[in-house]
C-alpha cells in the first residue's frame, strides 16, 4: 500500500545535471535566485528563460516530471497574476469598465512576477529532481561546515537528516503493518465523516510513535557501541568530488551574472 512511495522527487539518472556536485548545484541556485530578482526587463527575463530551458535539456528529464513540480504553486502564480492585473496601475489603459481598469504596468508586473515564481520553482526542482536526498544532505553539511565554528551544530543537523531519510522506508513499512493489523481488528479507515476518519488514525499513530521511540533507543545504543561520540574528531567518507562539470556550472554562473548585470535596466 505504501510500498512505492519515493522519497522526495529524486529521479535517478546519469545526466550532466545528475553528476554535477550537489554543492555546486546548491550554490548555483542561490546565485540564480538572486539574478531572478535582479532581472527587470524583457531581455534579462529572456536570458533566464533560455537558460532554464538549457538546464531542462541537460537534465534529460521528461517534461512531465518537470511540469509536475509546478503543480503545487500554479494557484499561487495565477493568484498573483490576477491581483497584479487588477490592482497595479500605471501606463496605458488597456481596458476600462466604470472605475475598474486594466493598465500597462499591471500586465507587465503580472508577467514578470509569475515568471519570477515559475523560474525559481523550476530551477530549484532541478536540484531535487537530479540529486538524491543523501547527496543533498552531504552537500549541505559540507557547505554549512564553516558555520560549525560559530556554534551551529552542523554535524548533528546533517546526522539527524540522514537518519530521518534512512528510517522513512522502515517506518513506512511499519505503518503498513499497523494499518493491516488494525484493519484485521475491525478498524475502518476509508468511510465515515472526516472527523470520524481523523479519529480512526489514532490507533495507527500511537503504536507507530511507541515503536519509533523504541527504535530510537536501540539505534542510540548501536551507535554508541560503534564508538559514536559526537562530531568531534570525526572524519567523513569522502564521496563528493568536484569535476569538470562543476567548472562548467561555475562558468555558467559567472557568465549569467555579467549578462544580467549588463542588460538589466
Amino acid at each position: 500500500m505504501l510500498q512505492n512511495i519515493a522519497i522526495g522527487q529524486y529521479v535517478p539518472g546519469q545526466s550532466f545535471l545528475h553528476r554535477a556536485d550537489p554543492r555546486s548545484k546548491l550554490l548555483f541556485i542561490i546565485l540564480f535566485a538572486t539574478l531572478v530578482f535582479l532581472a527587470n526587463n524583457a531581455i534579462t527575463y529572456a536570458v533566464l528563460i533560455a537558460f532554464t530551458l538549457i538546464t531542462a535539456l541537460l537534465s534529460r528529464l521528461s517534461l512531465s516530471y518537470i511540469l509536475k513540480s509546478l503543480k503545487p504553486v500554479w494557484i499561487l502564480i495565477l493568484f498573483t497574476v490576477v491581483l497584479h492585473i487588477f490592482i497595479t496601475k500605471g501606463g496605458t489603459v488597456y481596458y476600462q469598465w466604470g472605475s475598474f481598469t486594466i493598465e500597462e504596468e499591471g500586465v507587465r508586473q503580472a508577467i514578470f512576477i509569475s515568471l519570477r515564481l515559475g523560474l525559481l520553482i523550476l530551477i530549484s526542482s532541478f536540484l531535487t529532481l537530479t540529486t538524491s536526498p543523501i547527496d543533498l544532505t552531504e552537500g549541505l553539511e559540507r557547505l554549512l561546515g564553516p558555520f560549525g565554528r560559530v556554534g551551529v551544530p552542523v554535524h548533528e543537523i546533517a546526522l539527524m537528516m540522514s537518519i530521518a531519510l534512512r528510517f522513512i522506508p522502515t517506518l513506512m513499512e511499519e505503518t503498513d503493518k499497523i494499518i493491516k493489523a488494525q484493519t484485521a481488528r475491525g478498524a475502518n479507515f476509508s468511510s465515515g465523516s472526516l472527523l470520524r476518519r481523523a479519529k480512526n488514525l489514532i490507533p495507527i499513530a500511537i503504536p507507530l510513535f511507541i515503536s519509533a521511540f523504541r527504535r530510537a533507543e536501540e539505534l542510540a545504543l548501536a551507535m554508541e557501541a560503534r564508538g559514536y561520540r559526537g562530531g568531534v574528531g570525526r572524519t567523513r567518507l569522502n564521496k563528493l568530488a568536484f569535476s569538470w562539470r562543476d567548472s562548467c556550472v561555475a562558468v555558467a554562473g559567472v557568465v549569467l551574472l555579467f549578462v544580467i548585470g549588463w542588460w538589466r535596466s
Binding site: 537518519i163 522502515t170 536501540e218 557501541a225 560503534r226 559514536y228 570525526r234 567518507l237
Partner: protein
C-alpha cells in the same frame, strides 16, 4: 589471568532499578573467561542476564561489583572506552535498528568515521569488510531493500571494518528466518576460523551452540553450566529443569536412552542418523 584470555569477568554483579525503586539483580557474581580466537556460545532464556552480559563486555554498562578486563583494559577506565569499543564489536537483535547509514557504504563507514580514520584508508577498509561478509555487490544499496540476513551481514561488515578482536552477536539471529540465521552463523564461523576473530554468540537456540568451542549456560543471573558442547549438552535433565532446550540430536538420543536404547553421545544430526542406521543394521 592466563596470557591468552581476551576477556575476563571477575566476580561481576549487576542490577537494574525495578519499578518500585527496588534493585532487581540481573547478574550475581559471575566469573567468566573468554580465550582469544575461540567461538563461545552463551545460552539462556529471556531474563537470564545474557544480554546484560553482552552490554557489560563493551562498556555500554559498567559492573556494579567486580571487574571486567577486555584485552588488558578495565572497562571502568574511561580513557580506554573507545579503544574497548573498537576491539569489541556488537551485533544486535533487530537488524533495522542498528543500521545508521542511508546506504550500505555509509553504514560500514559509520564506525570508521567515529574513529577518525582517514578517508582514503576508509574506502579501502569498507571494500575489505564488505568482501569479507560477501556483500561487496551491495555497496550502494539502501538497507531497507536487503533481507534480514543481509542486514545483519552489513552490520557485521561495519564492525569488521573497525578491525575488532571480538564480535558479540547479541541474539543476532533471533529475528531472522532460517535462511538468514544460517547465513549469519556461517559467516560468524568463517570469520572465527579464517580471520581469527573471537566470537561470542548469545542465543537461545541450542542448535547454534553445537559448533562452538565453549558453551556457557546462564540461568537467573548465574552461570549454570560451562564447558565444551559435549559436556554441557550431556546434562540434559539439568538443562531441561531450568526450561532450556537441547539440540535435536541430543534430545532424540536422550529419549531413546529412556527407552533402553543406548547410543554414543551425539551433537549433530548427521552423527545421530549414522548411529541409528548402524544400530538398525547390526540388530
Amino acid at each position: 589471568m592466563k596470557e591468552e584470555s581476551l576477556l575476563a569477568f571477575r566476580d561481576v554483579s549487576f542490577s537494574y532499578d525495578g519499578e518500585e525503586g527496588q534493585r532487581i539483580p540481573v547478574l550475581k557474581s559471575v566469573d567468566l573467561t573468554i580465550e582469544k580466537g575461540s567461538f563461545v556460545s552463551v545460552l539462556g532464556h529471556n531474563g537470564s542476564g545474557k544480554s546484560t552480559l553482552a552490554k557489560l563486555m563493551n562498556a555500554l554498562l559498567l559492573p556494579e561489583k567486580g571487574t571486567i578486563i577486555v584485552s588488558g583494559f578495565d572497562t571502568k577506565n574511561e580513557e580506554m572506552l573507545w579503544e574497548i569499543r573498537r576491539h569489541v564489536g556488537m551485533v544486535f537483535q533487530n537488524p533495522d535498528n542498528q543500521i545508521v547509514g542511508a546506504t550500505v557504504e555509509d553504514d560500514v563507514a559509520f564506525g570508521l568515521e567515529n574513529m577518525g580514520v582517514d578517508p582514503g584508508e576508509m574506502r579501502k577498509r569498507i571494500d575489505e569488510a564488505l568482501h569479507s561478509v560477501g556483500m561487496e555487490k551491495y555497496l550502494m544499496a539502501q538497507p531497507h531493500r536487503l533481507s534480514g540476513g543481509q542486514k545483519q551481514r552489513v552490520a557485521i561488515a561495519g564492525i569488521m571494518a573497525m578491525r575488532p578482536s571480538l564480535i558479540i552477536l547479541d541474539e543476532a539471529t533471533a529475528m531472522l528466518d532460517p535462511q538468514g540465521r544460517q547465513e549469519v552463523m556461517d559467516l560468524a564461523r568463517r570469520l572465527n576460523r579464517e580471520e581469527g576473530i573471537t566470537i561470542i554468540n548469545i542465543t537461545h537456540f541450542p542448535e547454534e551452540a553445537v559448533f562452538s568451542d565453549h558453551v556457557t549456560v546462564m540461568n537467573a543471573g548465574e552461570v549454570l553450566l560451562e564447558g565444551s558442547p559435549h559436556d554441557v549438552f550431556s546434562q540434559v535433565e539439568r538443562l531441561q529443569s531450568v526450561g532450556l532446550d537441547v539440540p535435536f540430536a541430543v534430545r532424540v538420543r536422550h529419549a531413546l536412552a529412556a527407552k533402553g536404547i543406548e547410543l554414543p553421545f551425539v551433537l549433530h544430526q548427521e552423527e545421530l542418523v549414522e548411529h541409528v542406521c548402524r544400530l538398525l543394521l547390526t540388530k
